[in-house]
Symmetry: C2
Subunit: 345 residues, 2 copies
């Protein structure tokens, strides 16, 4: 089967995806009988290219990595905007990779709605649309007989949504707990090693683990978006941001961390979702976990999720929580799932 | 789609499977459009029953749990042996759950070969056939256009094979490391709390975590079988038991464990498989892991596996390693995978 991709947004993750495709396209073709072509790329800053027969991935990577304009790409139509790249091309899968906006979900939400309503599959790692409008988008995809897949919104390419939906199929998940934000976990790890909060943040910014304004991470907004997504995708919830109790790590002190550790505990920023009598109870907050808890031992920028199930008890997955290549891979992972489901209909 | 199961072996796992089916049959039917009927059960001690229209699961569970003979079951044909239960029934999926024999794989291997060559799918958690004859059985299944599925051979129903094969599809796994034997991990945990080796073993036997003869666990044979399976199933290996360097935990002393811990390390029995230049290098041995390693913090009878991948780096799954219900569930999990693959052909 052939999948023609339109990639909307050629930032870190978009470029990571192109690089994973360069590396994996042939082996995926051999192992999974899938032909992947990128037919359109559109980026607000870098411009846009479209060629119905497929674009040269190496050339796109070269232009992106040297921060040059896509206008320099030969043999392609230029000047399409993001909507045209979705609607006026032969793409059958739209990859939405613009910058996440947790307040309005724009421009991603417009891209996703446009693609789905035009009968095109959507794969995205953008947390905006799913944290604000997941159930609407799921219905829109269903009504248009296409798929809306979002593995990369939680723990990048580490297969957590897939494992919960397929690997644990037949089990009932009644609780989900996770370290969902790498930046705050990195800061807590630094503080355990002796740094005070402000110094740990500066270190995280210097090493590229945090933005210049780290409030979205340390105040828990990023983890909150993932909690909403996990609730609505895996526990059939219908909650919004306001339903989640949120507290960041900004009040934690070096001495709190040391004191807890001396008693066999470790502070972690935990996203927690429980389904009790059909009701979702969700929170993001610092929790003092016993060191015997697998989540207590997840250090640095690594993420982890524990699914509490009726049959298997707790199942924990630990892995990368972010990264351009890891998140780029999440798109491939979703494309393989999409293909498997398409061919099983 | 309808799946008629013949269950060969009604011990702990077989009864666990019946109980999971009682609990989950209806919800699986609703969610996955699969009709599951158990048409035949055959056990060397309890006897056998066959009814082409399906058997009453509650009645089977009642007889099994009160250690009564299946001869007491009404409305069924009695007296078939295991081979007849496979070949002379309308079962299309054979569930092999006899006791594991790591030396000859009998009687399981005969059951599996018979079923596959008669064009029946096989699902098993029995480690014998796959640790000794996996590649032969994979070919036999392929030639007969049926599936041979073995999720439960490693970490019971915790989805490790499935995650590696599907969730990590597109990634290359170059190394696998795991705590694959719950009994030895339980003993090491007890020893850390102060017990000497002999006392820890007695405790494990008393709590049902070890057999009266625990040599298969503490000498590493059980972990070795799983290492062979992981090599041959996930890394395209073709190795046998003799290719795996094996050392058990029998030489470890309480003082070794305490000493390591004081230096920030923990002794674990680790199964390790690496693929280097196309060659498999496999071992089971006690390793002194830094506490920063996710495997170092897996305590008690819990198991865990870390897959080292090219794209995502390490991905670790922690969960139940054994248990009658957990392993019973592995069969359902495999049946759902089998169904998904059948319908995608």
């Amino acid at each position: 089967m052939k999948y023609n991709l339109a990639i909307i947004g050629l930032g870190n993750v978009g470029t990571g995806l192109i690089e994973v495709l360069i590396q994996k396209k042939e082996s995926i073709k051999t192992s999974h009988y899938i032909d992947i072509e990128v037919v359109a790329v559109c980026d607000k800053i870098r411009g846009s290219i479209y060629n119905a027969d497929g674009l040269d991935l190496n050339l796109i990577a070269e232009l992106a990595n040297s921060k040059r304009s896509l206008d320099e790409y030969p043999d392609a139509q230029h000047g399409m905007d993001s909507i045209q790249s979705i609607t006026d091309t032969n793409a059958n899968v739209v990859i939405e990779l613009t910058i996440t906006n947790l307040k309005t979900a724009e421009p991603a939400i417009t891209h996703v709605r446009t693609a789905l309503s035009h009968g095109k599959h959507v794969i995205t790692s953008n947390k905006g649309p799913s944290s604000l409008y997941h159930n609407e988008l799921r219905k829109l995809a269903h009504d248009n007989h296409v798929q809306y897949r979002i593995e990369g919104t939680v723990m990048s390419g580490t297969p957590v949504l897939r494992t919960a939906q397929y690997g644990l199929a037949g089990c009932t998940i009644h609780k989900i707990r996770g370290i969902l934000n790498g930046t705050s976990n990195y800061i807590l790890t630094k503080m355990e090693k002796g740094a005070e909060y402000d110094a740990a943040i500066k270190d995280a910014i210097r090493h590229g683990y945090a933005e210049a304004d780290p409030s979205g991470d340390v105040e828990g907004w990023d983890a909150l978006a993932k909690v909403v997504i996990l609730s609505n995708v895996l526990l059939d919830g219908n909650i919004s941001n306001a339903d989640v109790r949120k507290e960041g790590i900004t009040e934690l002190k070096h001495t709190d961390i040391k004191h807890a550790l001396s008693e066999g505990y470790r502070w972690k920023l935990i996203g927690e979702i429980e389904k009790r009598d059909g009701q979702i109870i969700a929170s993001v907050s610092p929790q003092k976990l016993p060191l015997s808890d697998p989540l207590a031992n997840v250090m640095g920028s690594t993420n982890a999720i524990t699914f509490e199930t009726d049959i298997l008890g707790p199942v924990t997955i630990i892995g990368a929580g972010a990264g351009r290549i890891e998140t780029g891979y999440s798109i491939i992972s979703d494309l393989l799932t999409l293909h498997q489901i398409q061919t099983s209909r």
